[in-house]
Symmetry: C2
Subunit: 219 residues, 2 copies
Amino acid sequence: MHKRKRSKPAARRRPLSAESILRVAVAILDRENLDALSMRRLAERLRVSPMALYNHVRNKEELTERIVDTIIGEFTSPADAGAWHERLRTCFGALRTVCLSHPNALPLIERMGSISPAVFRPMEAALAALREAGFVPLEAMNAWCTLIGFTMGQLSYQLRKPVSFDPSVAVERRVLSPEDFPHVSQAITAVPDWDFDRAFAFGLDVIIDGLQARAKATH
Amino acid sequence: MHKRKRSKPAARRRPLSAESILRVAVAILDRENLDALSMRRLAERLRVSPMALYNHVRNKEELTERIVDTIIGEFTSPADAGAWHERLRTCFGALRTVCLSHPNALPLIERMGSISPAVFRPMEAALAALREAGFVPLEAMNAWCTLIGFTMGQLSYQLRKPVSFDPSVAVERRVLSPEDFPHVSQAITAVPDWDFDRAFAFGLDVIIDGLQARAKATH
DNA sequence: ACCTGAACACCGTTCAAGT
DNA sequence: ACCTGAACACCGTTCAAGT
């Protein structure tokens, strides 16, 4: 018989590893969505029994934490050179870009309980810039908290199920009446082309201006 | 026989209604957690078959959106009087307090796709103050976006599974080495008593300072 | 109009068994 | 050391049936 060696088991991959599991998991997340990421479907994609995964990952929670690590691991710190406020801008801009490249992962990022170096790299870069600006540790931590809160909070809005959050569809559906919400109504007609990039740049400028004023005040 | 009228069916409540369902659902959320909020457990608490719920609520998604509406509905707008920056402060402070009183609901709030007046009340109050400050609609919207992003993003950090996010436990577990993360390490030893209320006040001040500078600049 | 039980198609995970 | 199938205890939801 002319069977080729081991050709039958239908493209049975190289031995399962935490890396391959993680790679396929992120692929499911990016190409489908969060609901599609179940242990059973993941195993199916890897052509393996669901229980095989548990040899490489303790449980689903550990899997999701490692996914978050992998994603945040894509962040690269800004160069040490340049003005501190410029470094802050590129730091949080880069973090935002990473998160935007994996939009379905945001709920996992927001709810991660993990501790890995990856998570602290943006923090380290930001604190370095803030200390250089002259802030004492407490101020630097408060400033970091302001910047990361703003960045992630904006992303949360941007990546929400979009149609329904758009205030203009609320107007169409009559739940937002111009009598009860004059300013909201006026704002959405006056700003028909909402741009999250522009809003992020605006907010970052506002915060950095506020920080700069404080940095000068204490010097 | 001395059966009391209808006393047997074990405290079978008044007829099921969307209100009673919502009330019990929020109770489960507040006293247990998000995982405990399933249609089946909710029905059990209401002493009713799971399917009975579907006479009052289209599906679980509609239920969670109505929960978010109820919670955000607890927000009360600040009075129209006072300086615009003070009104902003009380507005976002009040919103934050509401969210903090239902800590397990934050993931639902962050992922709501709902449109109801409740959701736009804080926005209306903030835009009113911002317009009074002299911002044109686009600026006012950008400023709103900055403030709400910051507020919700901070809450997301504050309400994370706490132990594991605390950087100091990362140090204990050796994943955060002082050599690789000098500034993070220094910051957490220098600031042992982290206070989210203080951090929120700091961030709000920074943002409002930045906005105030802009408001003056254009006048 | 409202509620029910049975059933379906999913979950994550334990366990005993195989190599 | 790694993988498997069967089983358990859950989900949300459909459907046909009851009042």
